[in-house]
């Protein structure tokens, strides 16, 4: 079953002057099956986040369509939930109230919201902090709360936009592990946007590579390492190096001079 699909999605933004519109993403087509985790990687400014916003129904695409659970995305809906690099916790809400934000907005009874929040916080070993306020928590803990808030609405698809890029390297490793475990046990489908090549490889079933603007899908790499729920073990796998090399090749990281020249050329 296909959970998330983009069909010929193009997004154009108006430029500074008339006729100077620029295309952020161009004719992107891909789909994600049930329970699959797909990483999307690409140079900064290639429209990765735009794609996520379209998937979440926040902005309509200029052309093409996005589908979630077989339904065309026409606006924000209950099938998807997103998580960003910023934790976006509300400082005036306790941790439990922050986790309950989504379910509360969706109009579930208050008692159910609280029960759901506490249940998730227990799962993330944060039950002791449920009555704390966000400023009392560390960056890594806050990001786990943000993940709990995303899971609280029980979406079929999670859209994760560089969720761990703002935390320190060691915290990131444990957060990646927790995410992998959670996605596996909850059998969730996810689209993970990242600029971290290693993160893309160790967390996903498949890596999609986007080109620089206008963003197009230029490569699709299935990750055939197995044990996707254990990124710590995946990190040590010898096959990582091969995937890294291929990604670097595709992203032209090995040829910085070519990139600089391309940037100097008039578009």
């Amino acid at each position: 079953m296909i959970r998330l699909a983009f069909r010929n999605v193009t997004m154009r933004f108006p430029g500074a002057s008339r006729g100077a519109d620029f295309t952020a993403i161009d004719d992107v087509t891909f789909s994600i099956a049930d329970g699959e985790v797909v990483a999307l990687i690409g140079p900064s400014g290639c429209g990765k986040s735009t794609l996520l916003n379209i998937g979440a129904g926040l902005y309509p695409p200029s052309a093409g369509e996005a589908f979630v659970d077989g339904e065309r995305v026409a606006g924000p809906n209950r099938h998807v939930a997103f998580m960003l690099q910023k934790d976006l916790l509300l400082p005036w809400r306790t941790i439990a109230q922050n986790v309950a934000l989504g379910v509360e907005i969706q109009g579930r009874p208050r008692a159910e919201c609280t029960r759901r929040a506490l249940e998730l916080l227990r799962g993330f070993n944060l039950a002791d902090f449920s009555a704390h306020y966000p400023h009392q928590l560390s960056g890594g803990m806050r990001q786990r709360v943000a993940l709990a808030r995303t899971l609280a609405v029980d979406p079929s698809v999670l859209l994760l936009d560089e969720p761990f890029s703002a935390v320190d390297a060691q915290t990131r490793i444990s957060l990646q592990h927790e995410l992998a475990q959670t996605l596996k046990s909850a059998r969730k489908t996810a689209l993970l946007i990242t600029h971290d090549l290693l993160e893309a490889i160790i967390l996903s079933d498949r890596v999609l590579v986007m080109s620089a603007r206008p963003g197009r899908i230029v490569d699709e790499i299935p990750i055939e390492i197995g044990y996707r729920d254990d990124p710590l073990r995946r990190r040590q796998d010898a096959r990582i190096a091969g995937y890294m090399a291929r990604l670097m090749e595709q992203l032209e990281i090995a040829r910085p001079v070519t990139l600089a020249q391309a940037a100097l050329q008039p578009t």
Binding site: A56, P76, F82, L84, L90, P91, W92, L101
Partner: protein, 264 residues
């Protein structure tokens, strides 16, 4: 700061404050005499105190203070409510803000106290023109702060709420309104002191009640201690209003990281 270190810090601060206040009173009482300043220019503390007692029994000082305080409270509450209301409405409608901005700017630049004679011409020597001056003077800082707060909200925060299928009303009550609380209170602190200015100007322009009236009365009689008493009472009213705002702020913004002494 550790609790022990903090309480020692407070104890030292309080002691220094008391010593400073005693020094101030002593220099006020004997300073003018030593420097040869006549009492009608700078009356000593004891003269002001005697005048205070005289004014309570002869000039209905308590009544006039009550009238002024009432006007300040009414002007402050009305001005803040209107300012916040307009701030939220304009904050949510960029079109309305764009259309109204020249008028808002003009009204903001116009010295609000200059409206006092006009309001008295409209409403006579009552408490209403004074309240209206206070409303006008409190309105702008509150409106501008709320408007800026609504405009400054992280769009990702609004998108997060939208992604959870939030309605416009839910976005306002769950995100925008609580986000505006800290800037709103910052403007209310300013408003509490400005309300006193508005009311006094209204009273100075005309009428026969309030501390502003007693102020002009004392001036007409060249009664310097009387003027001092009025200024002290006005300061007291402003101080209590400011303190009330801070106490309310601490209750509402209890989730904020603790600041030493609440940023007094």
């Amino acid at each position: 700061m550790r609790p022990a270190g903090r309480s020692a810090f407070i104890r030292k601060g309080v002691t220094a404050s008391i010593v400073l206040f005693a020094l101030f009173l002593v220099s006020w009482e004997w300073g003018p005499r030593l420097l040869g300043i006549p009492a009608f220019i700078l009356p000593p503390a004891s003269a002001v105190q005697a005048e205070f007692i005289r004014m309570v029994s002869v000039n209905h000082l308590i009544l006039h203070t009550g009238i002024t305080a009432g006007e300040v409270i009414a002007g402050f509450i009305l001005g803040s409510l209107l300012g916040a209301l307009f701030g939220y409405l304009l904050g949510m409608s960029p079109t309305a803000e764009f259309a109204l901005s020249p008028y808002i700017l003009a009204l903001q630049i116009a010295p609000k106290v200059a409206f006092a004679p006009l309001f008295i011409m409209w409403m006579g020597f009552t408490v209403y023109p004074r309240i209206l001056v206070a409303v006008l003077i409190v309105f702008f800082p509150v409106m501008v702060n709320v408007l800026t707060a609504i405009r400054g909200i992280d769009p990702d925060l609004v998108n997060l709420a939208r992604s959870f299928t939030a309605s416009r009303a839910q976005i306002f009550w769950k995100i925008e309104f609580p986000s505006s609380m800290a800037p709103l209170f910052a403007s209310l602190r300013i408003g509490a002191t400005l309300a006193v200015v508005g009311v006094v100007v209204g009273e100075l322009v005309g009428g026969n009640s309030g501390l502003g009236y007693l102020l002009t009365f004392g001036e007409g009689q060249a009664n310097t201690p009387m003027v001092f008493v009025c200024i002290l009472m006005l300061t007291l009213i402003g101080g209590i209003a400011y303190l009330a705002v801070i106490l309310l702020e601490r209750r509402v913004l209890h989730y904020m990281p603790a600041r030493p002494l609440g940023g007094l």
